[in-house]
Symmetry: D2
């Protein structure tokens, strides 16, 4: 199989997630980064490209889409790692040019834009992927398989949370990361719910195999002057009868990237935490708690399929992220028909925006229950 | 100091919490159990008394209150460890007879009864104590002190939960514990919220130094045919601006007695779990996570005051429970004026019923916000 | 069953272990402390007795043994909680007077004294018990049962350690605990190996059902001027072919009472730590790691027999200690023939001294292998 | 900086560590794998090269060294990932051809060969690196810095262990990994001590900044018919006065890759475990235990220098391994003079063989103390 050619929009100087995408893409040797428009500021774009030794640098994403589509060795796919409000325009440009899109989450600033984009997507040959990276973790895959195969029975409760504390104080304007994440113009108004709440919600739904039907959300902006939410306490209801919650916070002092998932069914319970992703705690009803390890005796096929190294040698954040890149490569190369089942795409992108939208509507209505419509 | 004389109502054959109260009372050598009406069934009362070598056994609590009050060496206090609906009548009988009362929680079946009882209590010389036993744990005391002294700054979030799984299936009618706890007539209609939700709520309030002003509760009875709630997902608001949650569940497969407390303030965060009560995790804002151990270098005065053995030698559930008994003895003996600040009494008893009442009202209103009024 | 009458020698002002024995004896309501010679200094003995409300206080242990033996309601047993060098003279006085002895460990200062005492013991009607308290922990009992029933197969490795750091600096002469523990005259020359190494060794042997045949010990006194060992790194060999190690340290900075046991057999592995004694980690060969909890689904008969409260409610150090007192009471009351199998006695006392003796001989021979002879 | 060209010897079908080296080399984008002799069997070499899309495949390492040295775009360095007995001949061939060598550990089969090779190395311009990969972990770097800067004071104790259980049963001859690791001809006679004991020993020395002066080793082959050791219990002495131990086992049922390090100095203690490498437990003498996280508030310069992603996003085994590859690239590119201080080289290679040699001599002498000579 030939190595696929990758482009990148965003991810220049001072960015975090762009570098992550580049490492993730490199890990399994399936992609070669060859082109980019790493910043919307042409100077910075050129400087950033040089700093990472990028062969082809463009001053705008429109030019990049046009030029790459025209080249014989043009990129196969583009990674979009800009602030949220730019995702959709960039995605459209590349999809229209026949170039596949790998987009960071959340998809965009509002549900309406998302729905319109989703409708357009159906008309493109090129495909759209969304990097809800935690779903690439082997034991998240296993949790999904266990639920799907009925090992937990009927799911009664699902509690997901994503707690950080890095925005506990007013954001430093020099901090590029913090600046755009607390700017309603660039996020679409969502703070914690968009940046990390969508991850927690996506994780819960990925493992449950079901999206929520209703939620009640109590959003806060604890830090004075902040214009987006920095904390969200959310209750969930699912059509199947399951109940649950999402906590998303960027002011939970003492936490780092505390993404955790707990599921309780009438046949068993599960616990997984991304900060220690190599173990999955499973307790069959009435039985003894088991610590299933990635690569260990209790690992099932869905986990094994995305495991690189033996049990006891930790894989981490980049490995899970890299798994999405590998599966996308496999899928685009025609090597693996399973890719589309596990890699999030347009449906998950819209579901995430529906979650944000419902949170905002509910919170304005004093945490009244709101339907999630997508 | 002379050893105080204790009586007990409830706690006969098959009971759990009565034996716990007896061990807790014995641990520090401040109480001698001398009298009891261990069951409302006279035969069983006599048999149970004989089994534990109890000197004076009575066929009814009314007789016991009358007789003990009349004796020169009558009991100083009575422990009430019956099902909830009997607490208040028993308490009144003893308080009226001038005998102090140590009552298990929750106080009673409904808020109205609780309020009326509280009003009566003001007229008695004898005192009323409520065994929210977890507040006797040294590091819970420390958490309260840390909040009170401002070490966490302004509290933004408080999440408490108490998760069990022992009622995940329909209760075995032979199981005395399960039977009365799932019988609305004996609990007053509350299930998980009364049995364990009140503990979680009390713990949060004890550490915060504040009760909640509003809550929104989504209650469920997941097990078919169950007439009381077996799961509650609750959002909280406090007058001070803090937000939070209570999860109480008896169907959370894979949990045992998962009482946990997390508090996030603008100067620091705390985590404590009763299943491993000898450590308190504290992270000052912007600093390194610290594991404060009971008896260790970071232990503060409130913890030290109720610590029996050195750091690294675990104290547990009975020790915390015993601390309440010791503090009550100290207080009744006039030896320690501090007792009334830390041992829960009638105010906490009513606050617990107000919590249950608000949960039930909110859940009937589809989890609308309800005021807690006490 | 009547409550047994207990006496105590040692355990006066400033002592630690005496108070522990008193709490342990009280917990299950089987003992009443009625007499004592709490200090070898008569003044201090009287003051200490008054402080704890002790009915009968004596100025010397000889007088106490004589007087108690003569009284109709004299003590059934005496707890000896003095420094090591006094254990044997006191024990002899009481055994000779027909009073049972419950003695703290290690038995004495040297193996020869231990062996001579053991020979004498055979001639007494009264019985001798040794408080290796950790063996009272429910999951230690379970570990022993699992080994005994072959669930681990042939044992290949046993690693035990007991790490503390409270003597990392020169002992404060005001600290009564530290003073006698670092005084060779009162310990017999052993430091860490006697105070805590014997616990680790006893724990390993109790669970294995076998004492070691040979050891190689590298002892150190890291703190300047210290005349007893404060660290010991020891390799073990067992007659059955098992190999292992004991680490005992009082200068292991960052540890509190880190008593841990790991056993690896050809059918499974076990891990237990006294600082979190309510879980036992078991991994069957080729299977998934299990977290067996005290009182939980995986608890076996030996654990259940000494469990007081439900799974998830932690029992701790005092509870395990109290179990020995309860079993001794049961045994002396004729109620339980099993007591002698689980409560350590003279054989374990001599085995502990043989361990100390071999450590000292080996260390003097530059950690050469030495036989353990008892 | 141009991407360096890498070759590989070994790492064909069925191999484990070759694939790890390839992922590690790719992660940071500093290397391009362009040539290989992936197996000593020419057919298998060709098949393996094709499977991973390798441009230039050779039938023998001699040919590869010759040809690559002659090419203008020949490899800058070669990774040697064969069984131990082949390391040195391959290394010599490439070093002699002026190509840098990145060799897996242990260096070779015996100390004499190692010493002779070290002497030869001094005569080459090309450099030799050894992949003791765990030393690339950020918090291992921090531990070394903390020791070096005196934050632990004088080191009293260092306990390292590496426990596995995958060889608890006789090796499956079909398992390529197990087969050569238990074949004395290919390992030089060392089993667990060579494969994982050298990692534990290297880790201890790397952090201590000192190699051991003496050891006493008790080696076993628990599995019937095994010709190499599968367990080693080892005591250590250092010239500085520190004492310690190494446990290496491949029959420790219930463990996976349990590499752990504990250091106790007179000013503080440290704990690190490779299965959860993103935290370092530090307790200053007399202070509260701190959990330092990779990327978190307590991270120091040595850790920050090799950290890719924020605190709370776990890095793992491959990231640490990749750090060595990145540092070697930086060093060879002249970009970083610090590389040689942290990446193990010939001195560490010989020290590892001296460790193995001393273990074998000591064990034959019934665990007598032996000097480590290198």
């Amino acid at each position: 199989m030939r190595r696929l050619r990758l482009g990148m929009v965003g991810g220049g100087e001072g960015a975090f997630i762009g570098a992550v995408h580049r490492m993730a893409a490199r890990l399994d040797g399936r992609w070669e980064l060859v082109a980019g428009n790493l910043s919307s500021t042409p100077d910075k774009a050129a400087r950033s490209a040089e700093a990472i030794g990028l062969a082809r640098s463009y001053g705008s994403f429109e030019e990049m889409a046009r030029e790459e589509a025209a080249q014989e060795d043009g990129i196969d796919a583009v990674s979009i790692v800009t602030p949220n409000h730019i995702h959709v325009p960039v995605a459209k440009a590349f999809l229209a040019a026949g170039i596949h899109v790998i987009c960071d989450k959340p998809l965009t600033t509002d549900l309406e834009t998302a729905q319109a984009f989703a409708a357009e997507c159906a008309g493109y040959d090129a495909q759209f992927f969304l990097t809800h990276n935690y779903t690439g973790s082997p034991l998240v895959r296993q949790a999904r398989q266990m639920v799907s195969e009925g090992m937990l029975g009927n799911i009664r409760l699902v509690h997901a949370e994503y707690l950080q504390d890095w925005l506990s104080r007013p954001a430093d304007p020099e901090n590029v990361q913090a600046a755009w994440r607390t700017d309603p113009a660039r996020t679409g108004g969502a703070g914690a719910i968009g940046d990390i709440g969508t991850h927690a919600y996506n994780l819960a739904c990925f493992v449950m195999g079901e999206t929520a039907s209703q939620l009640a959300a109590d959003l806060q902006s604890f830090v004075g002057g902040r214009e987006v939410d920095d904390n969200a306490n959310i209750l969930l209801r699912f059509g199947s009868g399951s109940r649950g919650s999402i906590f998303a916070s960027q002011v939970a002092t003492g936490t780092e990237n505390g993404l955790k998932l707990r599921i309780h069914g009438d046949k068993g319970g599960l616990f997984w935490a991304q900060e220690n992703p190599n173990e999955l705690i499973f307790t069959p009803m009435g039985g003894v708690e088991q610590r299933i390890t990635r690569g260990g005796a209790g690992a099932m096929s869905a986990a094994e399929a995305v495991t690189r190294i033996p049990a006891g040698h930790p894989e981490g954040y980049l490995e899970a992220f890299g798994t999405l890149y590998r599966e996308i490569a496999d899928h685009l190369s025609g090597a693996d028909s399973a890719g589309l089942e596990t890699v999030p795409g347009i449906a998950e992108a819209v579901a995430g925006m529906a979650f944000i939208d419902a949170c905002q509507r509910s919170s304005k209505a004093d945490a009244a229950w709101c339907d999630l419509t997508s």
